[in-house]
């Protein structure tokens, strides 16, 4: 009975509330002023709360945003660390390559500087006994257009000069031969000097360098090239690098040692520059 009563009351309530709703709808359409008043009153309560929620929400949103950004930054950092590792490895490889490149460029500088020089490749077919070459034979000669006093280079450095020419071979005297002199020039300061082969230095793989003016700025590590005043050697061919430099007892000149650019111990192939220095004389 109670349940039935309850049911009826619910249904009645439904009708009553439906009536209220319809009345409200009617008021909304027929009496906009009342509706607006109700809405305004409601807004008076609701709006500040909503604004407060919004402020709070924005604050939280900012926080979560910054957390999100933090996550992103951490992830990015992780990625970048990995990248740094990769790049470091790559860089070390590239540095090695660069050194190699620099070395090769230096060796190549010669032919770049004098691209017009026509060269002939030659194999070393014979050599004097001993660890170091003094003079050696190459496999090209007169038939290939080789003439005496032609400069011989290897790997960009001066090896020597052709002294004797045969039909199909030639003899090259190397600059490390004792008593052999080349007029040299410091690449950076253009100071002139003389490079001597010295038998006593052959063991240590050095050449002697003399007659450097005391006031010159030649220093250790400087590049020594063949000089323009040489009667036989074309200018600008790399000879080697200055190592030790000491003042001579005559107080006018300095002298020291030179590391040749060419590895004479392992010389196998050379280039013969098929151009003779034009000294403008006799011939």
């Amino acid at each position: 009975m109670k349940k039935l009563n309850h049911k009826i009351r619910t249904k009645h309530m439904l009708w009553i509330l439906s009536g209220v709703c319809i009345a409200l709808i009617g008021i909304s359409f027929l009496l906009p002023g009342v509706r607006n008043a109700v809405k305004t009153g409601a807004a008076y309560v609701i709006t500040p709360i909503q604004r407060g929620i919004n402020h709070m929400g924005m604050w939280f949103a900012d926080k979560t945003d910054s957390f999100k950004k933090m996550d992103e930054v951490i992830a990015e950092n992780e990625r970048l660390k990995q990248r740094v590792d990769e790049l470091t490895e790559e860089n070390s490889m590239l540095v090695q390559n660069r050194y190699e490149l620099e070395r090769l460029r230096e060796l190549l500088a010669l032919s770049n500087d004098y691209p017009d020089y026509d060269t002939a490749a030659a194999k070393v077919i014979a050599k004097e006994s001993g660890n170091w070459f003094h003079s050696f034979n190459i496999d090209i000669g007169k038939n290939q257009g080789i003439e005496p006093d032609m400069n011989v280079i290897s790997g960009g450095g001066l090896v020597g000069i052709v002294t004797e020419v045969y039909e199909n071979s030639a003899v090259v005297e190397s600059i490390i031969d004792d008593g052999y002199n080349v007029s040299g020039k410091c690449a950076s300061s253009s100071d002139l000097c003389i490079v001597n082969g010295d038998l006593s230095l052959i063991e240590s793989g050095l050449l002697r360098i003399t007659n450097i003016m005391k006031d010159s700025t030649v220093k250790e590590g400087d590049m020594i090239l063949t000089s323009h005043i040489s009667s036989k050697y074309l200018p600008g061919i790399l000879i080697g690098y200055v190592t030790e430099l000491t003042e001579d007892s005559n107080d006018l000149t300095k002298s020291g040692y030179l590391i040749p650019a060419v590895d004479f111990e392992h010389i196998e192939e050379v280039l013969v520059i098929k151009q003779l220095k034009d000294t403008g004389g006799e011939k």
Partner: protein
């Protein structure tokens, strides 16, 4: 005595008002673009299903009134609509075992769909906007899904709360 009997109604009303604030002030913080879940529908449907048509009716009425007051143009229209939706949800209650989670989700989804369909008919179809398929996919379906997901997480809590309040209320009568 009196306080005990009205406590449940006060708490229900409080939840509805809180939900209305969440609906209107909190959800838009996340995005103005994506559809939000419909908490009013959720509460109307869930309370109707849990507590019966009388409670569903009341909850629907309050939810609709809140919807009208927090937005909307016509006072009383949402109240009427929600009230009947809550009432109908309450009618289904007696056939279904209320501990099951699946049915409330389906019911809320259906209620949400019904509400949106009526809303579409009154606000769009009458203005010759007839592409319900488009609105359904872009507006209605996301809302239904979000709301259903919320039901999944909140239904057990509402059920627990309701039973607790009911026990408290009955305790006052004995």
């Amino acid at each position: 005595m009196f306080l005990r009997s009205v406590l449940r109604k006060i708490i229900m009303t409080g939840i509805v008002i809180l939900a209305a604030f969440i609906q209107t002030a909190v959800f838009p913080l996340f995005s103005f673009q994506i559809p939000y879940p419909n908490l009013m529908i959720l509460l109307t449907s869930v309370f109707g299903f849990i507590a019966g048509k009388r409670e569903g009716m009341y909850t629907g009425f309050i939810c609709g009134l809140c919807a009208d007051l927090f937005g909307g143009t016509v006072l009383g229209f949402s109240a009427l609509l929600f009230m009947y939706l809550g009432y109908m949800n309450g009618m289904i209650r007696r056939f279904i075992y209320e501990e099951d989670i699946i049915f409330p989700i389906i019911l809320v989804a259906a209620t949400d769909f019904a509400y949106n369909f009526i809303y579409f008919v009154l606000n769009f179809m009458l203005r010759n906007r007839l592409q319900f398929g488009y609105y359904f996919i872009h507006t209605v379906l996301p809302e239904i899904i979000f709301t259903a997901v919320l039901v999944l997480f909140s239904y057990k809590q509402f059920l627990k709360l309701h039973k607790r309040l009911l026990r408290y209320e009955e305790g006052s009568e004995t």
